[in-house]
């Protein structure tokens, strides 16, 4: 595989339409969607920019966490009195109505914590799109990151600057997190 160069095209905050056009143009030059990544300081949905939908495992992890929480609650409600049969005389150790409270709280706890774990794990796990960053993104600018073969360079330059973008070649991936 020939070594491709990462380009970052920066658009101004209000140039959403231009960004969408630029993405169209890049696709027209034969760059597939997988090699393009859009970074922005404000959330633009994929639909607005005409990009394929991204997909996340967060809901699945969240539901798995809820199930785990439910099982823990079941263990606490009904398992512990069976495993540790201390007689507390007169009182029923396993009661269904009060168990609802524990079931609810622990299911929710499982759901919410695992949602966070999902976000955390997905955030720190490596992504395969083109990496690159510019601090101006958090100023609201829209960045289009893409890999392109060197021979497309002049054409790219012309099209993107024509749309009002500022192009940075070969952006280095700065270390943004601890490791």
């Amino acid at each position: 595989m020939a070594r491709r160069i990462i380009h970052l095209a920066l658009f101004k905050e209000d140039q959403v339409d231009e960004t969408a056009e630029a993405l169209e143009a890049l696709r027209g030059m034969g760059i597939v969607d997988r090699d393009i990544s859009v970074i922005s300081g404000t959330p633009f949905s994929e639909k607005m920019l005409g990009r394929p939908m991204t997909w996340t495992r967060v809901p699945i992890i969240a539901i798995a966490g809820a199930v785990v929480g439910f099982l823990v609650a079941a263990f606490l409600n009904f398992g512990t009195p069976l495993l540790y049969p201390i007689r507390v005389g007169g009182m029923a150790l396993q009661t269904i109505p009060t168990s609802f409270v524990i079931f609810f709280e622990l299911t929710m706890l499982g759901l919410l914590i695992s949602t966070f774990i999902g976000v955390f794990v997905e955030s720190i796990s490596p992504s395969y799109g083109p990496a690159g960053y510019d601090p101006r993104i958090s100023d609201g600018q829209i960045g289009v990151l893409f890999w392109a073969p060197p021979e497309l360079d002049p054409k790219l330059h012309e099209t993107l600057t024509g749309l009002g973008a500022e192009i940075i070649h070969g952006t280095e991936t700065k270390k943004l997190w601890l490791f």
């Binding site: 507390v88 005389g89 007169g90 009182m91």
Partner: protein, 243 residues
Amino acid sequence: MAEQIKEQVNERWGMVIDMNLCTGCNACVTACAMENNIPWVGEDDAGYGRGIYWMRIQRYWEGEYPETTPSYQPVMCQQCGHAPCEPVCPVFATVHSEEEQINLQVYNRCIGTRYCANNCPYFARSFNWFDYSYQIPEPLNYYLNPNVTVRRRGVMEKCTFCVQRIHAGQEQAKAQGRAVRDGEVVPACAQACPADAIIFGDLSDPNSRVSQAARSQRSYTLLEALGTEPKVIYLKGEGTYGG
């Protein structure tokens, strides 16, 4: 085997207090305090409403001054069969004993949420606001009963029906290979009562003295409508002394 059968028998300890006989003399309260290592909280705290009593004589005045008549009623933990204090404890520090059919307070398990005391409709529970055991001067600590735990600060305590005496009676009977006799186990209050107004015994035995007394037409329990099924049964007085 007789031994085997005895293991399965549940005693149901109960108490009958005859309000006709009670004179409100407070002997039971004193005896209880001595038997159960009940701390002396000091004048200021007692006046503030923090006196620790496992039982107390509730005194009400009837009529307008100067024509007032007092009425008395000794009240202690009613050892409810359906106790409101038990389910609310987060750590099982107050539980029902299946063996003696009384309510237990496990001092070393208590973490001091005081929820049980709020939920007790009889206000039978006392809280150790401070560490009173440290205030006992040196030779005086010999008055403490070794069979009863000296409570530390921050735990709830209440009448146990002198469970240490119940245990001692059972132990003795078992060592001699027989069942506990009626009247063998006597809590401190019943022992001290000069009028013999307090009768203690096994309610599951229909011939015991306490069962016979409990079948009296004068019998009632405190706050019966709450359905707490107390093990302390009062015999209504005729108005001479008690209420």
